[in-house]
């Protein structure tokens, strides 16, 4: 195992403290993993092992849950994660073209992170903002009525 940096060590301490409240309880794995992902941004293998050890749950079970739910990521994500909504309303209003435009503009494919670590692209399931389709989600913020110009504005805004 690679030596942890000081920052990493701090994050693991934070995780250990966060997991304290879940110990000995049933039905808590998803919530525990959601919190772990919030701390680390994603769930690398080492974090899954840490959760498994702390909660005395087999690693296989932890992995089975992580790999099942689409909101868990085992690969790093950018500081700004731009998610194109792929719900039906967004799809019929041109979400695919939006995704392509985003890829061209950022030079990234879904699942990749830009060299400076600032951007990554993904698709997301319906965000329920169908009235403003097509929609892009960045963190908890939604941007509706998206088009080519909107993308340019959004990227410029995020780069600042």
């Amino acid at each position: 195992m690679a030596v942890k940096s000081a920052r990493e060590t701090e994050l693991y301490h934070q995780l250990t403290r966060a997991l304290e409240k879940y110990k000995g309880k049933s039905g808590v794995l998803i919530a525990a993993l959601q919190e772990a992902q919030q701390i680390f941004g994603y769930l690398p293998r080492q974090v899954m092992i840490h959760v498994a050890n702390e909660l005395t749950i087999p690693l296989a079970e932890v992995y089975s849950v992580v790999s099942f739910y689409s909101l868990f990521s085992t690969v790093p994500v950018g500081l700004h994660r731009l998610e194109v909504c792929m719900g039906t309303a967004c799809y019929v209003r041109g979400a695919e073209k939006l995704l392509q435009g985003l890829q061209d503009k950022l030079g990234l494919k879904p699942g990749e992170v830009s060299a400076d670590g600032r951007f990554s692209i993904a698709t997301t399931r319906c965000t329920g903002a169908c009235g403003a389709a097509p929609v892009i989600k960045v963190g908890d913020e939604l941007y509706g009525g998206m088009n080519e110009e909107g993308l340019d504005r959004l990227i410029k805004e995020l780069k600042q």
Binding site: A31, V92, G128, A133, G144
Partner: protein, 618 residues
């Protein structure tokens, strides 16, 4: 005799003379820039010295998302739509300070040119019967507001005047059926749950609205969370449960937050907790947040997910009412179903049953979206014709395009065509037409939508979301998707259609849960209704709607081309050539199909689709 709706309107009228601003805080409005409008309103109120006196409340979705951001000014109830920050300042200066309605910002009916001032006058709202959405966009989601509109009065009535059996009887009389997709009679479900032996029982509110294109549960939880909580407490009282869970998807952060706040407020006012209203009944609610899995809307999978494991479904029986959460009897109702409960208990099941049809009483909220002028939530009595919803309320199809299909029920449903426009929308009629109401997603498609591509889109979604537990669904969806991809790529054969039908039958009969059993529906309904379009892809190697990229190519329409040369200059593949005075041409060999010319042409002289192209080579 007054109708239930009129009765509700009466309750709603409260003496008010002071100005008050309601700003739509629904998700689409937020995503269309309602924050900047809010800032402008606040700044201007401050500048005019009215900041403390005129309340500005951010409410849940007002309704018509295509007209957002929107603001309603009380006491007159004037609605201003599609606001920009400078408009917001004008409203404060003119309307609030000088008392002059800003006519130039009011909605003007496109046909009659008549100016419509109040929300109820707008065609989008005029045609609706907003019972479940009675509070959405009208009051802020805070409990104090809810209480002003007889909030928790139904709970008080149930605890003080009715036995649990009588509550169930009222729900049975109302004829309410599940609004989440199954359509099972709610009263009977409650009765089974009450009869199920056990000292510990649970209520789950299913807010895992995974159907892409449905957003009513989100808006109800964001705009009127207390109606759902009140419904849950009453359900607990009627069925003998003391603990409830709201299982809400993580994609809805605001719904999660509003539900959490609402639970805390209800607890503080003692509507939740021990000995509610001192009638000896105790009930608590906790929130469980999903992690992104469509199958978790299925009740046995949802229970697995609350257990903290993979959301795998389980065979039924045993039904959750017998053996559900932690092995105990569990009642699972959808958000919209529960939001109906306070109305039924307060006004009586028979009043509720007056609305809608025999066997399908009450209203249904539809999430209208796609190629339609007015998008948003539409609540109408069950049995309302599709035409009323799409054309009278939704304002028809944008850009004078032709209506092609209405997709209902999401990935489990099907498509209705123009021949169904006069169909009364209810559980049975849609099923007979090869679709279903489902959770109420209603996506409108026009002539530019390819139905084969839509079938592929849904199969792609379902294949991705299949949990993998049972073989028919795990492998069947994959095989069906491969065939659909083959057809949309122009490599389909006629025998593929037969294989699709066979696989569909296999999935319907062999899958473990509803996800797999209903997965072939979008394919079957498009195959049935739009078979010609499948055949055009297979026989003629063309996509009539111009969507499937392998089957379309860009071309310049000679009559429209003015030889301006813009397309040739911007083409990154140098595929366009021409000279002044003559129409330009695109060299298909060089064209990379980037569509830049299509977007930039000032004369709309470039099109794709409809054109027969040679079969792609393997």
């Amino acid at each position: 005799m007054t109708t239930l709706l009129e009765e509700l309107e009466q309750e709603r009228i409260r003496p008010e003379t002071e100005h008050r601003l309601l700003l739509c805080g629904g998700i689409p409005c937020t995503s269309l820039g309602c924050k900047k409008v809010k800032e402008a309103l606040e700044e201007e109120l401050q500048a005019q010295g009215a900041a403390g006196e005129v309340p500005l409340e951010v409410v849940g979705c007002i309704g018509d998302c295509s007209m957002g951001p929107a603001v309603i000014v009380y006491p007159e109830g004037i609605i201003y739509q599609k606001l920009k920050p400078e408009d917001a300042r004008t409203i404060v200066r003119e309307h609030i300070v000088n008392g002059r309605v800003v006519e130039s910002l009011l909605h003007r009916d496109p046909q009659s040119k008549e100016i419509l001032r109040r929300r109820e006058q707008l065609p989008f709202y005029r045609g609706q019967t907003r019972l479940v959405l009675r509070n959405c966009g009208v009051i802020s989601p805070h409990i104090d507001e809810y209480l002003k509109y007889r909030g928790y009065a139904a709970l008080a009535r149930a605890l003080a005047e009715l036995t649990p059996e009588q509550v169930i009887e009222e729900v049975k009389i109302s004829g309410l059926r599940g609004r989440g997709g199954g359509g099972f009679p709610t009263g009977r479900k409650w009765e089974m749950m009450r009869a199920s032996p056990g000292d510990e029982k649970f209520i789950i509110c299913n807010a895992d609205e995974g159907d892409p294109g449905a957003f009513m549960d989100r808006n109800i939880l964001e705009g009127d969370p207390h109606s759902v909580i009140e419904g849950m407490i009453i359900a607990g009282y009627a069925t003998g449960a003391r603990q409830g869970y709201i299982y809400v998807r993580a994609e809805y952060p605001i719904a999660v937050r509003r539900s959490q706040e609402a639970i805390a407020q209800a607890r503080e006012k003692k509507f939740l907790g021990e000995n509610i209203l001192e009638k000896g009944f105790s009930f608590n609610i906790e929130i469980r947040i999903g992690a992104g899995a469509f199958v978790c809307g299925e009740e046995t999978a949802l229970i697995s997910s609350i257990h903290g494991t993979r959301g795998d479904p389980n065979p039924r029986p045993p039904f959750p009412a017998q053996k559900g959460l932690w092995g105990k009897p569990t009642l699972i109702n959808n958000v919209e179903t529960l939001a109906n409960i306070p109305l039924i208990v307060l006004h009586g099941g028979s009043r509720f049953a007056e609305l809608g049809l025999e066997g399908a009483s009450g209203t249904k909220v539809f999430a209208l979206a796609g190629k339609i002028n007015h998008t948003g939530l539409v609540e109408v009595p069950l049995g309302t014709p599709l035409r009323t919803i799409i054309f009278d309320i939704g304002g028809g199809i944008p850009g004078n395009k032709k209506f092609k299909a209405a997709q209902t029920g999401g990935p489990s449903g099907g498509c209705l065509g123009p021949e169904h426009l006069d169909l009364p929308v209810d559980y049975q009629s849609l099923q007979e037409a090869g679709s279903m109401i489902g959770s109420g997603g209603l996506i409108i498609m026009d002539e530019d939508t390819c139905m084969v591509d839509i079938a592929r889109f849904y199969m792609d979604f379902i294949q991705d979301e299949s949990c993998g537990k049972c073989t028919p669904c795990r492998i069947g969806t994959k095989r069906m998707l491969e065939i659909l991809e083959k057809i949309t790529a122009g490599k389909g054969e006629e025998k593929d259609l037969e294989t699709l039908q066979q696989l569909a039958l296999l999935l319907k009969n062999g899958s473990l849960c509803g996800l797999g059993r209903s997965a072939p529906n979008p394919v079957l309904s498009t195959l049935h209704r739009f078979r010609e379009e499948y055949l055009a892809h297979i026989r003629d190697h063309t996509c009539p709607a111009g969507v499937c990229r392998s089957l379309t190519r860009l071309r310049i329409i000679e009559d429209k081309c003015r030889s301006c040369g813009i397309c040739a200059r911007i083409c990154p593949a140098a595929a366009i050539s021409g000279a002044r005075g003559k129409p330009y041409v695109i060299d298909p060999e060089k064209c990379s199909d980037c569509l830049r010319c299509l977007e930039e042409c000032p004369f709309d002289a470039i099109s794709r689709g409809g054109e027969r192209v040679a079969a792609p080579m393997d």
